[in-house]
Point group: C2
């Protein structure tokens, strides 16, 4: 039994979810992402309901326990985004994500900071995206922001970590997300990282959805991780979520 | 080359769209449907953009030409739905759908009528859903509404037609949608209908998306339709859309 800690079930069809389940994935975090820049904050608010009500049910029917992650992804910040942040502040949530920074402009920083402040106040774990472009520089900025507000390290996964930013994140105490997909990490690279840095703080995920098809990435990685698989492909994600 | 005239690409993963393409589907109508009742009309308005900008691009990359259908499905009527209708009135569209009636309450009728009035004014083809429950009675109501406003028959597909309501729709002049999926029609039943009623007014579709997995329904039906396939699995849909 494995846990894929970062997927977007909204971009996956039913036969793909079945394939994930058949590969051994029994738990997933399904994170908010809207594939265009929305014109209205309301779109995201309804999107969170869609994730919580419809997507979780779709997973449940297939035997996958789904933990919905809500929040504003840096690539889909709507106008009047504080409407969304206030909605997050007013509600009950199990997880925030994807949050993060893509280009590090002022708006992205404000959106990120306002959301992690809510997470701190309400004790909600956060999945934090790091971008493809300028990964090392942007990761430094993310870590600086987290430290500036003394964000509790156990509540954050810094995600999509690879050889470009691994040292930066490893010297702090956050959880570290390793994404196995074409253009990110291979299962073999995950094994290399885990052998070198230990298995205590890593969570493996596929980031499946919309475009990415490596649905059994976590299961394939678990196979070659051997003894470490249980921690980095299941237990660490459960500890992060407190479940 | 086939045309699946009723799908919801938003509920399909990339490997499923590929499978459709491999079965011979090169054109689809991807219709609006929000899988929960939205709290905000803005959610649908952004959803139409998502369909036009993101989903059509996702199909295009795979070699599928996608015609986006916009509008309010009777199962997802938001509060202040006139905001959506006004948006439809103000914009440029290739297709409306799914419109229709599910239970025939006052609100559904109003939403349906206000949308088909816009369609008439702007000369936009409409895909009109008929429900599973009380199909015959609701179909009568739909036909009555269309006739009351003298809706141009060539602009409407009455969809999900089966043996319960076929005679009612056939005696009018609308296009007739035959949906091949578990619980609706089998490919063999489509063949039976086409042999009996002729191939001039039928459009075959799969209604794929979210839950339905019979992705190559149109291609499978085309195989056994033989000579009639070109019309009911391609040309009629093109004529309906005027492409």
């Amino acid at each position: 039994m494995f846990f894929d800690s970062h997927v977007h079930t909204e971009g996956l069809g039913i036969s793909e979810l079945k394939k994930m389940k058949e590969s051994g994935i029994e738990k997933v975090c399904s994170l908010s992402f809207y594939p265009i820049k929305p014109y209205f904050p309301q779109t995201l608010i309804d999107g969170f309901r869609k994730l919580e009500e419809f997507e979780s049910r779709r997973c449940e029917i297939l035997g996958i326990q789904m933990f919905p992650g809500v929040g504003i992804h840096p690539r889909c910040i709507p106008p009047n985004y504080m409407t969304v942040v206030e909605h997050l502040e007013a509600g009950e949530w199990v997880l925030f994500g994807e949050l993060g920074i893509e280009k590090a402009n002022e708006e992205e920083r404000e959106v990120f900071v306002s959301q992690i402040r809510v997470a701190m106040k309400k004790d909600i774990p956060c999945v934090i995206h790091t971008p493809r472009e300028n990964k090392r520089i942007i990761t430094s900025k993310i870590l600086e922001i987290l430290e500036n507000i003394s964000f509790p390290p156990e509540l954050a996964v810094v995600d999509h970590v690879n050889f470009e930013n691994l040292d930066l994140v490893f010297e702090k105490n956050y959880w570290i997300g390793l994404t196995v997909q074409s253009g990110k990490l291979s299962p073999q690279e995950v094994v290399k990282i885990v052998k070198e840095y230990g298995s205590d703080r890593f969570l493996v995920n596929s980031d499946s959805g919309y475009r990415n098809e490596f649905l059994n990435a976590v299961a394939e990685t678990a196979k070659i991780l051997e003894n470490e698989a249980k921690k980095v492909c299941l237990r660490n994600a459960e500890r992060f979520l407190g479940v």
